[in-house]
């Protein structure tokens, strides 16, 4: 794809293997990133299909297309797939894998073979999770949280799904320790900590959370399997066990996991804003430390998932306070992003459109998070659609929109082609409008008292549910348009130059697509990442 004097791109030389083998046995971080990218979006489509089916069931009160127990399986699988297979690995394993070494001026990650192993584990976990649908005594119906004691008593295929999540956790740990070591050991000469791009900072913070939190999930899931097979009784009150302890153990991981999902997304946003505003990022250090701050405080807020589970008032008050503290570093980021745009020469291309939607949707998601974190209001909205709306605003409106932003931003670097800008903007419009029509009514429904996880509801909720379901179709149309545009552009897009956005980070100094070894010579870094005139 380049002239004769330039090195071959990583598409052209795939190591010792040929064809498909040169992909599934590759140790090149760029190929592994693309393997992940493809697998992630396959699972995303499956998860989205379950989501659409759920919305279709809720289009009218009463039974519409499925029974209550099928609906239980739908939301369980939607949750398991979207959380464990899409959004937790998400940005780090795909865009992170591809751009972390490029952005710090390295040839690869610290442990390329472990990187490949983590993809294999990811695929194993993913396939096992899908298998749990069709084998055993019916798909799991516990919700993605696998709460004891129901998860231990239900006859459905929980063990296999839990084992799948365990393997996925292992994959996540390996990626985390790989990234931490990479950032410590492989920065190019002159790339001091405060010259690292902020996407790298966010990946670094995330990697620590992956390493420190995931093992707790591992042991918790293992205990569910042990309980199901041997009936030890750790979470069974009749044997002295305590189901609340399960919730503690589960959320000790799963709340930090929320930051595994959002922090890399914030990194992508931070990367895109300076490029399209043609300005140095405002408050570099504040953003870097706020990533670490979110990751650190995030470890001590898990109790806010259990406000109505019967924990003591003292611990509730402490968890509520700590939850509010997370808003501070998050707010620091939002203000810094806005300040970076101020007086910039803003160019509104698709990546920036997604980024600005991210800021808007994340603010709604984040501020409603404070409503959840307040003890009094939490009792009113706990277990309602308000919660569903809140975390979709943060996870989908936040993380997924930032993921899409990054995908468009780095598309020319990854594939060496440009996507169609007009089509991309068109798709963005559908996504943004559809998203709000789909999820905003859920805030109102939840506030009015419609519980989550039921296939039926009172007739008074019909109108808003109908609107929400229509929104889901608009959103789906947006997704289809976006994917068609991107996939089509891989082959048919115009050839991209090495730096189409005039970015200043290191990945834009190499050809598009990058050569196998990334850099002919390891660059010597002499300045910070965002230098604009």
């Amino acid at each position: 794809m380049q002239g004769n004097n330039e090195p071959k791109s990583f598409y052209e030389s795939g190591g010792p293997h040929k064809g498909i083998l040169s992909w599934i046995f590759t140790t090149d971080h760029k190929r592994i990133g693309l393997l992940y990218l493809a697998s992630l979006f396959i699972f995303f489509i499956v998860g989205a299909a379950f989501g659409l089916l759920m919305r279709l069931e809720l289009i009218a009160p009463g039974k519409t297309i499925v029974t209550a127990s099928t609906y239980n399986s739908f939301f369980t699988l939607h949750g398991v797939i979207m959380i464990f297979l899409f959004i937790i690995p998400g940005i780090p394993v795909s865009l992170g894998n591809f751009f972390l070494p490029l952005q710090i001026g390295a040839r690869d990650v610290a442990f390329p073979r472990i990187n490949l192993l983590s993809w294999w584990l990811y695929m194993t976990g993913g396939i096992l999770a899908l298998m749990s649908l069709f084998t055993g005594d019916g798909p799991p119906d516990t919700g993605w949280t696998f709460y004891a004691p129901y998860s231990i008593r239900t006859g459905t295929n929980v063990s296999l799904a839990v084992f799948a999540a365990f393997i996925l956790g292992f994959s996540s740990i390996l990626t985390g320790l790989n990234f931490v070591t990479t950032v410590h050991r492989l920065r190019a000469p002159g790339m001091s900590w405060f010259r690292m791009p902020l996407f790298v900072w966010s990946l670094y913070a995330t990697a620590w959370v992956q390493v420190l939190a995931t093992p707790i999930l591992g042991i918790t899931l293992l205990l569910i399997i042990i309980e199901r097979f041997f009936g030890v009784g750790f979470f069974d009150p009749s044997k002295g066990g305590d189901p609340l302890l399960y919730q503690h153990l589960f959320w000790i991981y799963s709340h930090p996991a929320v930051y595994i999902m959002i922090v890399p997304a914030m990194g992508v946003v931070t990367e895109i804003i300076p490029v399209f505003a043609r300005r140095t990022i405002f408050g570099y250090k504040a953003i870097a430390f706020s990533s670490i701050g979110i990751a650190a405080v995030g470890f001590f807020v898990w109790g806010h998932h259990m406000f109505t589970s019967g924990i003591s008032d003292t611990s509730k008050a402490i968890f509520s306070l700590l939850t509010f503290l997370v808003a501070i570093p998050s707010g620091i980021k939002v203000f810094n992003w806005v300040a970076s745009l101020y007086k910039g020469s803003i160019k509104v291309d698709t990546p920036l459109l997604f980024v600005i939607s991210f800021v808007f949707l994340f603010c709604i998601g984040g501020l409603t998070g404070l409503i959840n974190g307040t003890l009094a209001t939490n009792i009113h909205i706990h277990g309602t659609h308000f919660i569903v709306a809140h975390f979709h605003y943060v996870m989908f409106g936040g993380t997924a929109f930032a993921f899409f932003a990054g995908l468009h931003y780095w598309f020319p670097k990854i594939f060496g082609r440009m996507y169609s800008e007009a089509r991309a903007k068109f798709a963005w419009f559908f996504l943004f409008i559809g998203f709000n029509i789909l999820y905003f009514p859920m805030f109102i429904l939840g506030w009015q008292g419609m519980p989550r996880r039921y296939y039926d509801y009172l007739p008074m909720f019909h109108e808003l549910n109908l609107i929400s379901t229509i929104g889901s179709w608009i959103l789906a149309a947006g997704l289809i348009l976006m994917f068609i545009n991107l996939v089509r552009s891989i082959k048919k897009g115009e050839r991209a130059e090495s730096n189409p956005w005039k970015g200043t980070t290191l990945e834009w100094t190499v050809p598009s697509p990058p050569p196998v070894e990334n850099f002919e010579e390891i660059p010597v870094v002499t300045q910070g990442p965002y230098k604009y005139e």
Binding site: F111, P112, T181, T214, I219, F230, F234, G240, L245
Partner: protein, 206 residues
Amino acid sequence: MEETLYKSSETYRDYTGSKMGMWLFLFTEMLLFGGLFLLYAVYRFKHPVEFHAAAKGLDTTIGAVNTLILLTSSLTMALSISALQKGNKRLSLVLQFLTILLGAAFLGNKYMEWGAKIHHGVYPGSEHLLIKGKGEILFYGLYFVMTGIHGLHVLIGIGVLLFMLIFTIRGTIDFENFVKLENSGLYWHFVDIVWVFLFPLFYLIT
């Protein structure tokens, strides 16, 4: 960054990086066991008397012997690394083999101990256990799960050391490139340390 080589990913080798990766992995292992120790702490806090009573059912001698075996195996492990670093391949092989033997002896001992307990009807979910107090049920539940997961780690450690044995024979690891053996050693010591905590928590609290 001085000692890192940037030739190509094939020949690239980073000693400090490898050690760092291993330590991070051991952190994750520590947290995995941490979840179990948390359960232990909570339930012992709830049922202190029953835990003490139940611990009388475990044989301190077997536990002590196993502690001795594992501590000795950590010594042979450490010595095998030193031997390899000094270029004494044969001695290193003997010591690695001894470590594996001691690990196997630990597991054998554990097997006998578990076997005896199960023979007496004490295992998770057994009728004999379920008629006892809740503290006792939880104590033996924790005993089987924690020593079980620990035993699994010893087994994995033996597997890893078998690979190291082969690598040493083949010369893939030698006195210049011994980080794999060192990392296996770290893992082995970690598993050992977990036992150092398990032993008093289950056997010595009577």
